[in-house]
């Protein structure tokens, strides 16, 4: 069974599907979840626009992780959350999975059709190709 399940979230509807699966699995196995939100931070606020951008991103990140904590509390599943600022979400997921000793990453991906169906999409693709942690892909 999986004891520590990493759930990367960007706060969208899609991610709540991954969260559902992660919470169910954690509950069945008596495990915990680790919520992760990642965005590359600007080096510094150079003007008003970037300062506003940063405030909005911080707000979004806070909301996304608060949602994970609330859902975990409701499900009775132990939960930690991590905010990461790696250059890409893929790097953040790999690093945090390693540091937090996670044994599963749950990702939700879009169903695709036609030509785009050749790829399953950015971060999932990179994790699958180069990652080392087992991966559960839900749609």
């Amino acid at each position: 069974m999986f004891r520590r399940i990493l759930v990367p979230t960007d706060g969208t509807e899609l991610c709540s599907k991954a969260l559902d699966a992660a919470l169910q699995l954690a509950r069945l196995g008596g495990g915990a979840i680790v919520g992760l939100h990642a965005y590359a931070a600007l080096a510094r606020a150079v003007d008003q626009d970037s300062a506003r951008w940063r405030r909005e991103r911080e707000q979004q990140a806070g909301d996304a992780l608060a949602y994970v904590r609330r859902r975990a509390r409701e499900a009775g599943v132990p939960c930690e959350t991590v905010l990461a600022h790696d250059a890409t979400p893929y790097e953040a997921i790999e690093r945090v999975a390693r540091e937090q000793a996670c044994d599963l990453v749950v990702l939700a991906v879009h169903a695709r059709r036609g030509l785009r169906a050749r790829l399953i999409g950015g971060e999932a693709e990179k994790l699958l190709a180069h990652g080392t942690v087992p991966l559960l892909i839900v749609r």
């Binding site: 080392t132 942690v133 991966l135 559960l136 892909i137």
Partner: protein, 145 residues
């Protein structure tokens, strides 16, 4: 949660490890498993030396025997774990389609497979069948490593 997990295997070392993990996982969540082995059908025009030398009958017999070997492996792991299992051998040119169709036909709700199978990591980012299953399956897929 998941009630019936499809475990496709090509008999490779990576697949066998995935089957082992899949059976443990199934036991943990109280699910049953379906072990699946896919072999290509006989072709007259082929670069596969086994097919060139064999008659269709001989080839089919060889495939069945190979499938029995691979699936007996799944069976012994499942028996040891004391979980309910079912074994399937399907003949198809496109293993990923056979995997997805079998999962649907037998009402599985999760596919769990190795990130790489017999063809290994050479030149590929991800095992090609695993990659295709991931792209085309509407069902959740657990990639074991």
């Amino acid at each position: 949660m998941y009630k019936r997990i499809l475990l496709p295997t090509d008999g490779s070392e990576a697949s066998r490890r995935a089957v082992q993990a899949g059976v443990e996982f199934a036991r943990g969540i109280g699910a049953e498993i379906v072990g699946l082995h896919v072999t290509p059908p006989f072709h007259l025009l082929t670069a596969n030396s086994q097919m060139l030398e064999d008659t269709p009958e001989q080839y089919a017999a060889d495939c069945s025997q190979r499938a029995r070997q691979v699936l007996t492996d799944v069976e012994s792991v499942a028996r040891a774990a004391g979980i309910t299992f079912r074994l399937e051998h399907v003949s198809s040119n496109t293993p990923y389609e056979a995997i997805i169709e079998t999962a649907k036909r037998l009402r599985c709700d999760l596919i769990m497979m190795a990130s790489h199978g017999r063809h290994g990591v050479k030149g590929l980012l991800l095992g090609s069948e695993t990659q295709k299953v991931l792209v085309h399956s509407a069902m959740p897929v657990l990639v074991h490593r």
